[in-house]
């Protein structure tokens, strides 16, 4: 990847962030979003997050691998986030499971 491209990517992500955030604050009450659209948009973050995370946990070397260290570590992190409030714990638990399983399987 070329360095100028990387900065262009940052600017594009910056636009995709600041424009939605500023949208109605800048436009004020001149425009409003239909209720149906608002309700549908609420599902965008969950769908997008899962679309990024799931392939990372389920695919190893291009193949579906339902049993692998990353999936186990991800599930352990999710379980600790569900069970406890401590913001550090999912990272500690997830990384510990990942390294334990990798050490164990060689």
């Amino acid at each position: 990847m070329n360095d100028a491209d990387l900065w262009l990517i940052f600017i594009v992500i910056g636009l995709a962030t600041t424009l939605p955030r500023a949208s109605f604050i800048v436009l004020g009450n001149r425009v409003s979003l239909p209720g149906t659209v608002q309700r549908a948009l609420r599902y965008a973050p969950a769908a997008a997050l899962a679309a990024i995370v799931a392939p990372d946990l389920l695919v190893v070397g291009g193949q579906l691998a339902p049993l692998n260290a990353k999936l186990a570590a991800g599930l352990a992190a999710a379980a600790s986030a569900l069970r406890w409030r401590n913001p550090w714990l999912p990272f500690i638990v997830g990384m510990a499971v990942l390294h334990a399983l990798r050490a164990w399987s060689g």
């Binding site: 604050i25 599902y43 679309a51 799931a54």
Partner: protein, 238 residues
């Protein structure tokens, strides 16, 4: 208000800061992970902090990182970032009435600084005050504080990453961070449906050309969540 009292902007700033302060601790692990994840993705410290200053959004930064590493096309990176940020359109619409009487420059700055944490902590209090200057202070103080904490702890993470060996797979912390964001969302059933369909479709369609699978998966996930919500409403009405 009398002339001897502090300015309404400062009074609002003090109130907003006090409301937000306990929430701000939650930013610290995020910012540290963000800094380390950007370094594991191969960014130089300058590039990492550059991204942090330009974007200022944990979810959008962490979410697009794997796409940047994989060399995904620019439009896909844009689309994914937009999908991750669409919730802000709703937050922005909810906060808009509180910005009546505020100039365009302050509105752009406020928009750029909008975060989940400040919205969650301050949306309620913002609607209650009559003075536009008080409201602006109430919003900007916690927002600027979040910005400062975020930049400072990301910088710390960027430097911490340099002393950690590569075999520790720190980049996996970015995946864990995304999982941690997903968990509270998935407590609501239609949201869980959106995540399962989005994640499942992205996995199955990963072979589509131009990484189109991710876009199709996100659209399918949104549709599935919306459908599940409507089905749930209908069954409740019976």
């Amino acid at each position: 208000m009398s002339a001897t009292a502090t300015s309404p902007f400062l009074a609002g700033a003090r109130a907003g800061f006090a409301v937000f302060l306990p929430f701000s601790v939650g930013l610290v692990p995020w910012a540290l992970v963000m800094g380390m994840a950007m370094r594991s993705a191969g960014f130089s410290p300058v590039e990492a902090m550059g991204m942090n200053l330009i974007v200022f959004a944990g979810t959008a930064q962490l979410g697009t990182l794997p796409l940047i590493v994989a060399g995904a096309p620019l439009w896909l990176i844009f689309f994914t970032a937009l999908a991750l940020n669409l919730r802000f359109v709703i937050f922005s619409a909810a906060l808009a009435p509180a910005f009546r009487g505020v100039g365009p420059a302050a509105r752009w700055l406020s928009g750029h600084l909008l975060t989940d944490g400040v919205f969650a902590a301050c949306a309620d209090g913002l609607q209650k005050a009559d003075d536009a200057r008080w409201r602006l202070g109430y919003y900007l103080a916690p927002s600027l504080w979040s910005w400062l904490l975020w930049q400072a702890f990301t910088l710390l993470g960027v430097h911490a990453a340099a002393v950690v060996p590569k075999s520790w797979s720190l980049e996996f912390m970015a995946t864990i961070a995304l999982i941690v964001l997903l968990v509270p969302m998935s407590r609501v059933r239609p949201m869980l449906v959106a995540a399962l369909v989005g994640g499942g479709a992205a996995t199955l369609l990963r072979g589509m050309p131009l990484k189109l699978g991710a876009v199709v998966a996100i659209v399918l996930g949104i549709a599935a969540g919306f459908l599940a919500e409507n089905l749930e409403h209908r069954s409740q009405r019976r």
